[in-house]
Assembly symmetry: C2
Homo-oligomer: 236 residues x 2
């Protein structure tokens, strides 16, 4: 495929981090192609958010890929029988791998993004993983991202033929939640369109008490900004 | 999960190589759990073969995972508009990446096998890639398998907690097709239940002229054995 446009694939979940990532891919000069997954997650409201964010940030394309990870089980995010923890303290978050971890999720998502990237000749895949204000998932660590990048360049046609290797970009990996939000606001992200909750009330309103809600609230608080999505919260 | 049974996940396509792999996983002392993919391949007859092989070789379980790789395009195996090459010479096979290459296919399949392996606490994933008598795909090379294994052990819960790393086993990687067949016959594989063709006639009978058929025929010929599936061939 001959083109002067440099394409990137951006993993877009509908959450705060991946929305910021999409804005950063654009700021880095890429034409961003967003990819989301219907993977058996508890709440599919995040996919509606992903669609709105893709439009708001003017993604060149947005596709939703179906891949049922719930069939393998083992996570509170895909199995209604496992309870999502609520009301963790700051010390508890990230301390050990929580039940919300979905086995091999980022590996599967990045692999499908890689298949897409190869067919559109994209030079980068953006993923909004974060190793500071995060839930303690193994597949959010910088060492994982580096190992995936190395593998990806051996796996594909581009790794054999092209001079330029594919990059896996994780621009949020060393940022705090407050820093991520600050960067996104600079780049025009409307966080009112994002949802971070693991277990939303009525499937749409953030619960305000799961680890994802707590990390998000702390980020806006540290920045001294109101969360534009907070009006939708289930909290009084 | 506490158990003295050591489990392995085996990628099972319905072809000759992966059937042999399943038999080898058993011979290595693993309880084999087979995984196949309905990925938008031209002919789904191979999935019927995979089911029969799983039964014949007494796999502990067999699951077929749906993942539409055809949506990304870029391969003769998933796009009816791209012609499967026929009548290659031995020199042509493996010389460059052919149109039958499916972008990132083995990466996607191994990633889903990894998700499955993590939930059943499997210690190995078996994949029947082969770097000698093969079609020249980048994701069949030993360097790719090693890089995937390294990445997999950083990606998952087991890589953080367990002493024993997950192994990606590619026992056929250095074998010729004839050696693979000889090993499988020793282990009781019924190759009459396998299909290797990229483009079967009526969706079921091997064409006898694609690279996969030619490599298979050469293997049986070098071994001086008749292919038990040959009676089904479309050739006169």
């Amino acid at each position: 495929m001959q083109s002067t446009t440099r394409r990137a694939v951006v993993l877009l979940s509908g959450g705060l981090d991946s929305a910021t990532c999409l804005a950063i891919a654009k700021a880095d000069g890429f034409q961003p192609h967003a990819i989301s997954f219907r993977y058996g997650q508890r709440h599919q409201h995040e996919l509606a958010c992903a669609q709105r964010i893709a439009r708001q940030l003017d993604a060149a394309s947005h596709r939703i890929v179906e891949i049922d990870l719930a069939q393998f089980g083992g996570s509170a995010l895909t199995d209604g029988a496992i309870t999502v923890p609520k009301g963790s303290t700051a010390d508890q978050i990230g301390g050990e791998i929580p039940v919300t971890y979905v086995p091999a999720r980022n590996t599967v998502f990045l692999s499908l993004a890689l298949a897409f990237a190869e067919t559109i000749d994209a030079k980068a895949i953006y993923i909004g993983v974060n190793a500071l204000d995060y839930s303690g998932y193994p597949d959010c660590r910088p060492a994982f991202i580096e190992a995936f990048e190395r593998m990806a360049n051996l796996a594909t046609r581009s790794g054999v033929r092209d001079a330029e290797p594919l990059r896996i970009e994780a621009p949020l990996v060393e940022l705090s939640k407050a820093q991520i939000i600050a960067r996104g606001l600079e780049l025009g992200v409307d966080y009112g369109e994002t949802i971070s909750c693991y277990d939303p009330l009525d499937g749409e309103r953030p619960c305000g008490r799961c680890d994802a809600c707590l990390l998000r609230a702390r980020g806006f608080e540290q920045l001294g900004r109101a969360d534009p999505a907070a009006g939708r919260s289930g909290l009084p």
